[in-house]
């Protein structure tokens, strides 16, 4: 087995978020599904940008946010994802590297521009996302470097990788390399609509053990098993998955394994400002805990404090040291 070089390596769509506040009316007028992630083309991206309010730009991307969170806890982290060699691509690369993450995927020199996600944050703190995948569509299996994957304790993959044409091949390639090297593979289901698009494939990944750990929120879980009943879905998940964590917003999370169903409460917050990145940062804390050999409850507590940090400000990347936060909370780092 090669030397362990990374605690967690993530593969995902490399995206810069363009974030604005919006009233619920705006979502209605723009025919946006509140709380969801819609894929859009470039003309629609421009139309949304023209219509939306003053924005801030911040690097995003679900798995990328998670990996930045893992690094923020003090772990060794790497990311694989495709940007273009343009202004936003340089911004993405700067931000992830400046967070201490190894990021070596070569940028595309031509083709569509770096991916952007137009995020509308309503007064209740909920976020509604519109993603123009751009250069992220060009992630190929060749971008997955076998020695790098084999050197990571956990390879973390996002369900959103099913959207670009070749990224799922990259996903499968990475999962095989990781397992052949005796490593673990984790998957987030990403979004209820994404689950709707790729349900049978995601179920297959879980049931065949292609992934060792699954992250889902309540609506993704319900979408996966096409039921409105949480307990029913959780029970089936327990039969299907080796290990899963279901996040339930302010109700905390449930760690689902063959041995036990462990409920862990959410960390207290003052006010939810922007839900963007809540699930991503929960996964960061949980993965960090696992990589450090903590028990499931402790790992979930680490996830909870990271999620609590990120929803109390605009943007999906932590603004303070997660390591410091964990220490203040008396959690091991």
């Amino acid at each position: 087995m090669p030397d362990l070089k990374y605690d967690v390596l993530g593969i995902g769509n490399a995206i810069v978020d363009v974030i604005a506040r919006a009233e619920d009316d705006f979502l209605v007028t723009q025919k946006m599904q509140k709380g969801g992630m819609a894929l859009i083309d470039e003309p629609r991206a421009e139309a949304i940008y023209d219509a939306m309010g003053p924005a801030v730009e911040s690097s995003g991307g679900s798995a990328a946010n998670t990996i930045v969170g893992v690094a923020g806890f003090g772990a060794r982290a790497a990311f694989v994802g495709k940007v273009k060699d343009d202004e936003l691509g340089r911004t993405f690369a700067h931000d992830i590297r400046a967070a201490g993450v190894s990021f070596d995927t070569p940028p595309a020199s031509d083709g569509p521009s770096t991916a952007r996600c137009y995020v509308l944050v309503t007064p209740d703190g909920e976020r509604t996302m519109n993603t123009y995948l751009g250069a992220a569509q060009d992630l190929h299996p060749a971008d997955v470097d076998p020695p790098q994957i084999a050197a990571a304790a956990i390879t973390y993959l996002e369900g959103y990788l099913w959207d670009p044409p070749h990224a799922k091949e990259a996903f499968r390639k990475a999962a095989k390399i990781a397992h052949d090297a005796g490593r673990k593979v984790a998957l987030t289901l990403s979004d209820a609509f994404c689950v709707g698009r790729y349900r049978s494939e995601f179920l297959d990944l879980i049931k065949t053990g292609t992934v060792d750990l699954v992250f889902a929120n309540e609506s993704e879980l319900k979408s996966l098993y096409e039921t409105a009943d949480f307990d029913t879905a959780a029970k089936v998940l327990r039969g299907d998955a080796k290990l899963a964590v279901v996040t339930r917003s302010e109700k905390g999370c449930v760690v689902v394994s063959k041995d036990a169903m462990i409920e862990v409460p959410a960390a207290p917050i003052r006010k939810m400002v922007d839900a963007t990145g809540a699930g991503d940062l929960f996964a960061a804390g949980f993965l960090f805990g696992l990589a450090r050999g903590r028990d499931h409850r402790t790992a979930a507590q680490l996830g909870a404090i990271a999620a609590a940090e990120v929803i109390q400000h605009i943007g999906a990347r932590p603004e303070v040291s997660l390591k410091g936060l964990a220490q203040e909370s008396g959690l091991p780092v």
Copy 2:
């Protein structure tokens, strides 16, 4: 006199902020003067960006922030400033227009890229700025449209306009048009180092009545009169200026006129997260109050609540409706 179309029109450097948190050590290593604004060239801009942590991008520019604040109170506002026709220039234009501000200055089609300010926010909330002026250097008197200036009750100008080569001519042209049309002219001294560069010219603008209203913070005032004693400086200012407001951070502000020296306390805050834009937003509230015919104390209170909003989050543009905040505070809008 032409019809009044705008309550406040601002002229300033059109800049996009690139904001990151930094430890005080970083400022020392990078030889940055804490709390100041330094002008930098493009190689230095790149070196700073490479060295700084993960950042968010948000439209900025001192007078532009003020004008966005004026619009946020519900007033009619316009801005004049130069961007390039590039990605950041489109971002700047989008953000200011989406805030409800008229912005018609044609972008430069060639020459240097849109201006960027690298803002380092230290744990105490203080901000240290490094500005690459780029396309903002190309603001010319021809960008000042006489009928537009004449249609604004107050024309607001930033001292930073003395840095680009032709912007001060634009400044003087605008001031003359405004006065010829029976309008008012306001100036912010911008920065203590900026005052150091252009002290005699700024004093001349004040003493000759080229400006009717001056905004300064404590260190700018002390730099203007080259004294360490606030009371001495305030007394001389009272003799020189028609009307002035001196902001003193958590100590509130003093409105200095021939008739009176009115002290107005700062609005309460929970925590100073990022001081960027404090002075800009104070000016927004005060100018809005004046444009609505409020007394000086009320105008200063409007300034205080706008400043309090902007220092409690990252970035120099308000995140909530200033009109709403004023209403909650029982102030007239």
